[in-house]
């Protein structure tokens, strides 16, 4: 099959575009397709991970197979802070604000599990926003270090770590 654009090279790319139910087919060679670039997904900067994600989010939000679900709640769920609806979120793949995480919390678990295989952050904690969380994390890290120092019989170091833990625990206890 010959490229419908240049009529010379063999067509290697076949596209079907459907707009408002109207179907148009394209058969192009690689260089003509490249020139048309923006028209097509893949070459288009508008096609991104968000499009893939959007499918994933809709899938998760869909009523379960048990059949006894209430009407599709994603059309009504809305973040009270920024006004973003769950439907908008699943379309764009992006949250509107910090509070969306709370407001859509129930639906997010399966999504995070699917994307990351995990639900609980275990990395860096910012000093300011982290506050108590950071101290708790530091205590846990120190306890691990303490265990290691005891195992390797470095008792002086262990004592120093123990004191650090005590200090941090005091900080946690004080209002």
């Amino acid at each position: 099959m010959i490229c419908q654009e240049c009529g010379q090279k063999p067509a290697t790319l076949h596209f079907t575009k459907i707009v408002n139910g109207e179907k148009t087919e394209f058969r192009l060679c690689e260089s003509c397709a490249g020139e048309k670039g923006d028209m097509f997904a893949g070459a288009s900067p508008n096609f991104s991970i968000h499009h893939l994600l959007s499918g994933l989010l809709k899938f998760d939000a869909a009523p379960s197979v048990t059949g006894s679900d209430p009407p599709p709640a994603e059309t009504v769920a809305r973040c009270e802070t920024c006004g973003l609806t769950y439907a908008q979120f699943s379309k764009s793949g992006r949250f509107g604000c910090v509070d969306c995480y709370q407001q859509f919390a129930q639906r997010l678990g399966p999504i995070f599990r699917r994307i990351h295989g995990n639900m609980q952050h275990s990395g860096k904690v910012p000093r300011r926003a982290g506050g108590v969380i950071r101290i708790r994390k530091e205590i846990n890290d120190l306890k691990r270090q303490l265990q290691q120092s005891i195992e390797s019989e470095e008792f002086e170091q262990a004592a120093a770590i123990r004191d650090q833990i005590k200090d941090l625990e005091k900080q946690l206890a004080s209002p």
Partner: protein, 362 residues
């Protein structure tokens, strides 16, 4: 402007061709996505809220903590021409998203351009550190320092369960995306690449073309990065990518050795033909240029060609892109004109470097 001067202004440190394992790893990048607690994410932020983000970050930038790290400069995207933005994208200093879609975008660049902080991209902040060669830990360490400084001046969106809260659920948790750009011609030639790439995707890493999401690998360049950001610490993510990259480096080196031992004359012929084409072509499309430059790079790295260096190839890979070609020409060019200009620029650059090296090296 002379090509020499243009290049001096155009190249960033990450193109230097130096750094550990730089025969295979071109560059290492770490990016952190961060948002400010009190302001809606860029998807919904108003003009004044977007400006507030810029102001808050600018204030942090003026601090001593910040300036002790490096000398920084801030650019407002609205003040740049379309071509200037394109050049920043081609240098990997800003994302296509910041250049084309962001409202009220800005970028803070360090003097040697190894640090760029994008403002009002998909997230309020994207801290990016881009280093030459295989320097993942170094890039992470710098990104972490900048993050620590910024955090003293702004309240980050963070919660205990989800970590750093990002616009897109694919970045939540650590907000970290670490990547290495690798040149793997021998794994492609020996057809081992697909096996390796599919293995990579099974351990939480992802492979993309060098221009990120949705772009295809050209010139045998592959960008490998972490996919998972929630549930693993930054150090785990970095060291996972580090050890996988280390293994791929060894595989690529072994494949290069095997190729040369078993088939040296044919390989030499293939690579040297590309050398001939680049030195003589009058018209060259970007795809062919990328392929030929990849051949030339392999010939340099394996010692077949000694009158050129890898730095020149890295520079050319950046300079032959549409934005740079037009910037250098000082005008808009049609694709056909670009193909002519590209061939010209490559010839001129290779000739100059070869002459210089011959004079200096005897």
């Amino acid at each position: 402007m002379s090509l020499q001067r243009f290049i001096q202004q155009a190249v960033s440190e990450w193109m230097s061709g130096e750094g550990p394992d730089s025969d295979i790893v071109f560059s290492s990048r770490v990016r952190l996505a961060r948002n400010l607690r009190q302001i809606p994410f860029p998807l919904l932020s108003t003009e004044s809220q977007a400006k507030e983000v810029i102001e808050l970050v600018s204030k942090a930038m003026e601090s001593e903590d910040f300036s002790s790290l490096d000398h920084f400069e801030q650019l407002t995207l609205n003040n740049l021409s379309g071509l200037e933005k394109r050049v920043l994208v081609e240098k990997h200093l800003i994302s296509p998203h910041l250049a084309n879609e962001s409202r009220h975008g800005a970028v803070i660049l360090s003097e040697n351009e190894s640090v760029s902080i994008m403002i009002n991209e998909e997230d309020h902040l994207r801290i990016q550190c881009l280093y030459p060669g295989f320097q993942l830990h170094e890039a992470w360490s710098m990104a972490n320092k900048i993050d620590d400084v910024l955090e003293q001046y702004v309240d980050y969106a963070f919660d205990e369960r989800h970590g750093y809260l990002t616009s897109c659920p694919t970045n939540v948790g650590t907000g970290i995306r670490a990547s290495v750009m690798m040149h793997l011609p021998a794994l492609v030639l020996t057809q081992q690449i697909n096996r390796i790439l599919s293995a990579i995707s099974q351990i939480g890493l992802v492979v993309r073309g060098i221009y990120g999401e949705g772009s295809e690998a050209s010139g045998n360049l592959f960008q490998i990065s972490n996919q998972i950001t929630l549930g693993h610490s930054e150090e785990e993510i970095i060291s996972n990518l580090y050890s996988v990259t280390k293994q791929i480096i060894e595989h690529e080196r072994a494949a290069r050795r095997t190729l040369l031992e078993s088939n040296r004359i044919r390989i030499e012929d293939k690579l040297c033909r590309s050398y001939g084409i680049l030195f003589n072509a009058r018209v060259i499309e970007s795809k062919e240029a990328a392929k030929r430059l990849s051949d030339l790079r392999l010939a340099i790295d394996t010692g077949m060609i000694t009158d050129l260096n890898s730095k020149t190839i890295n520079e050319l890979m950046v300079l032959i892109q549409p934005g740079f070609l037009q910037m250098y020409s000082g005008k808009d060019l049609t694709p056909a004109q670009r193909d002519v200009r590209r061939a010209e620029l490559i010839r001129e650059r290779l000739q100059t470097v070869a002459n210089d090296l011959n004079e200096n090296g005897g």
